[in-house]
């Protein structure tokens, strides 16, 4: 499904390579976790996959079901079935959350040549999906992310994921800034969206989230490369021994 082959990327206008040859395949139904210390290139990978401006892919390829993603605009990638839950969701004053969700759904449907969802069908769906993320009507009616707490923003990201039903969902540090209850709600929401047709790429610094969303594969990204891969036990080993302990002293994070 999602095939990343020898991906190299720099920040636009700078020579410094951030991604130095990443290869990774996510098949339908799989959950992959990418862990790594700060500055390893995790967020860059997420942004490059979603098509954010400001990065330059210098070599390599990314395809989704065989289609080249790197040539596409962010909205085309969304229509193709890629979703990125962001670390810092943006506030949009004057645009209600409910309206935004519907506009996003219909934009994606339109790009796929599907009919727009009716207001009634949308309402039914949004209420149902919002309920399992504990997003109440009040939050749906508020402006997108405006005045939302950190936890509310992250739940709202997962609600968007649930509404857009992507083929591949990337979660960029969705656990950051969440307390344990919020983490559990978010993880439950993600787990409900797991399906044999959908892949997940979960980017996280800590293994805590992976106690709730159990990955099939764990990769450790450091210095722009996947240094090692394994199953869930790799995450637990990282928790115990740190990046330095698993990868070698040169990868150790500076003590806070």
């Amino acid at each position: 499904m999602l095939d990343i082959k020898d991906l190299h990327a720099t920040i636009e206008g700078e020579n410094k390579e951030i991604l130095k040859g990443i290869s990774l395949t996510v098949r339908p139904g799989e959950v992959h976790a990418i862990m790594g210390p700060n500055g390893s290139g995790k967020s860059t990978l997420a942004y490059v996959l979603a098509g954010r401006d400001g990065y330059e892919v210098t070599s390599g390829s990314v395809t989704l079901d065989g289609e080249d993603l790197l040539e596409q605009e962010p909205e085309e990638r969304a229509a193709a079935g890629l979703f990125l839950a962001m670390q810092y969701p943006v506030e949009i004053p004057g645009v209600s959350n409910m309206y935004f969700l519907r506009q996003a759904m219909n934009s994606v449907r339109k790009a796929r040549g599907e009919a727009e969802i009716t207001a009634a069908a949308f309402m039914k769906l949004v209420r149902e999906r919002a309920a399992f993320l504990q997003v109440g009507d009040e939050l749906l009616k508020r402006d997108v992310n405006r005045g939302f707490s950190g936890g509310e923003k992250k739940r709202n990201e997962i609600l968007q994921l649930a509404m857009l039903e992507p083929k591949i969902a990337i979660l960029d540090e969705t656990d950051s800034g969440l307390d344990i209850d919020a983490l559990r709600i978010v993880a439950d929401g993600v787990n409900r969206m797991r399906s044999p047709d959908r892949g997940f790429l979960i980017i996280t610094h800590y293994q805590r989230l992976l106690d709730y969303i159990v990955p099939d594969h764990v990769h450790v990204l450091a210095k722009g490369r996947i240094q090692t891969s394994g199953d869930r036990s790799l995450a637990l080993e990282l928790e115990k021994n740190g990046y330095g302990g698993v990868l070698g002293a040169e990868f150790a994070e500076a003590a806070a």
């Binding site: 979603a50 909205e75 810092y88 645009v95 209600s96 506009q103 934009s107």
Partner: protein
């Protein structure tokens, strides 16, 4: 005299003199002493001259463009109710004064059932019956302003609104000012006088619209007196077509513990300028001015504010947003004067701008002039493009770039129309904004 002469550039076209002569004996208040006052004002207009760009307050807006066309007096035609009704705002109980080409049309107006002690009349009627009371308002001193002098010379009508002490009108009073289409350039010089007695309360909705194609000049003057404890809210919208120019000059005087809150959304037209002079002349009074400018094409919009804190313990807040696209040009010049007695003044000014095209221009000129030592004043002007992170966020959710840009632009304007007091006016303002955005119709059910 030499300083006056230096400030003159373009001679006003002869059309003004012709118009002045034609009004004689014809318009209300154009005979006897009233006419002499008009003549004095007209001479004053000529003596003051048309300001050049060297005059500080006219640096970015070409005053000559107001006087370089053969504007004739506005055609004396009425409008169909069907042209006016779509612009009704303020709910079914609102009173309405309809003005077409600068003249009140009583048949279309509805100002019945006013509380005792409140008068709403056409200015023409007051000029005809009791001209001596017109110039009695405290804000009417000798005009030091060319276009105000011109207005005084050529005015035919306007709204005369007066509330005695303690009188409150619960529903809004809407003034709809409609400028018709015409096959020749024309001008209108309406003059509004609004006086709130002590503890009076009024909510005015001012709706200015132009109908169809045509060239026109609207030169409007408003003198507004808000006495001690009185409360005035004004919601303004202005929608003008290409070839339309307007200059509106609003002069406010506020007494002790009084309050003024105004919101303005002025869109379209070739040239729109709104000058506001607010004098906080009592203690503990408050003035709030909000507005949105949004020039597109080759439109030019100009907001000039002079906020005078003359007495202690007053508060003022100016909050303006600007969106300039294509070759649009917006000017915001806001000045806060804190006079030497005005201790414990709180005065704020914020002007945030979005510059969406390389050919658009925004000139922001915030100024403070402070003569008291115990004051809190702030001013801030920001100018930028849409936030790339926000654009990416929307596009990553499937919205195409044009729609994402329109949505963020709309969101930027939201803070202004949220401050409009009347819901129906806010709704109109919202639609006006959406109509200017590419793909705006797709954002229509945004709420």
């Amino acid at each position: 005299m030499s300083s006056v002469a230096r400030n003159r550039t373009a001679e006003p076209v002869p059309a003004f003199t012709e118009a002045f002569e034609r009004l004689r004996g014809d318009a209300a208040g154009s005979s006897g002493k009233a006419f002499e006052q008009r003549r004095a004002a007209f001479e004053r207009f000529h003596a003051l001259g048309v300001p050049t760009p060297r005059v500080e307050t006219w640096k970015y807006t070409n005053a000559a463009s107001f006087v370089n066309k053969p504007f004739a007096l506005a055609p004396r035609i009425s409008s169909e109710a069907s042209q006016v009704i779509p612009h009704f705002a303020g709910g079914p109980k609102a009173r309405r004064l309809i003005m077409v080409n600068g003249r009140i049309v009583p048949q279309l107006s509805h100002v019945g059932g006013l509380p005792a002690g409140m008068v709403v009349q056409p200015l023409a009627q007051v000029l005809a019956e009791t001209p001596e009371i017109v110039d009695r308002a405290s804000v009417n001193d000798e005009p030091e302003h060319s276009f105000e002098a011109l207005n005084r010379a050529l005015t035919e009508d306007g709204a005369w609104i007066s509330l005695d002490d303690g009188v409150a009108l619960d529903e809004p009073l809407q003034i709809i000012s409609l400028l018709t289409n015409a096959d020749h350039a024309f001008m209108a010089h309406p003059r509004h006088s609004i006086r709130l007695g002590k503890d009076a309360r009024l909510h005015v909705i001012m709706t200015t619209v132009t109908v169809g194609p045509g060239e026109s000049l609207l030169n409007q003057v408003e003198t507004i007196d808000v006495a001690d404890g009185a409360n005035l809210t004004i919601d303004r919208t202005s929608q003008q077509g290409e070839g339309r120019s307007s200059i509106i000059r609003s002069r406010y005087v506020l007494g002790n513990r009084s309050r003024l809150q105004q919101s303005t959304v002025a869109l379209g037209g070739s040239l729109q300028r709104h000058e506001m002079e607010v004098r906080l002349r009592g203690t503990h009074s408050e003035a709030i001015l909000n507005g949105l400018m949004m020039p597109l094409g080759t439109e030019h919009v100009d907001t000039l504010i002079r906020m005078h804190h003359e007495m202690p313990d007053c508060e003022s807040d100016q909050f303006y947003k600007t969106v300039a696209d294509q070759r649009g040009h917006a000017v915001f010049a806001g000045k806060i004067f804190v006079h030497k007695d005005a201790q414990r003044t709180n005065s704020y000014q914020k002007n945030a701008s979005l510059l969406l095209s390389d050919d658009a221009e925004i000139d922001a000129k915030p100024e403070l002039e402070i003569y008291a030592d115990d004051v809190k004043c702030s001013h801030g002007a920001t100018c930028g493009d849409l936030d790339p992170a926000s654009l990416f966020y929307l596009r990553s959710r499937g919205l195409d770039e044009a729609l994402a840009r329109s949505m963020l632009t709309f969101a930027f304007t939201g803070e202004v129309f949220e401050r409009i007091q009347d819901k129906s006016v806010a709704h109109v303002a919202r639609k006006m904004i959406l109509d200017r955005l590419p793909g705006g119709e797709r954002l229509a059910d945004l709420g």
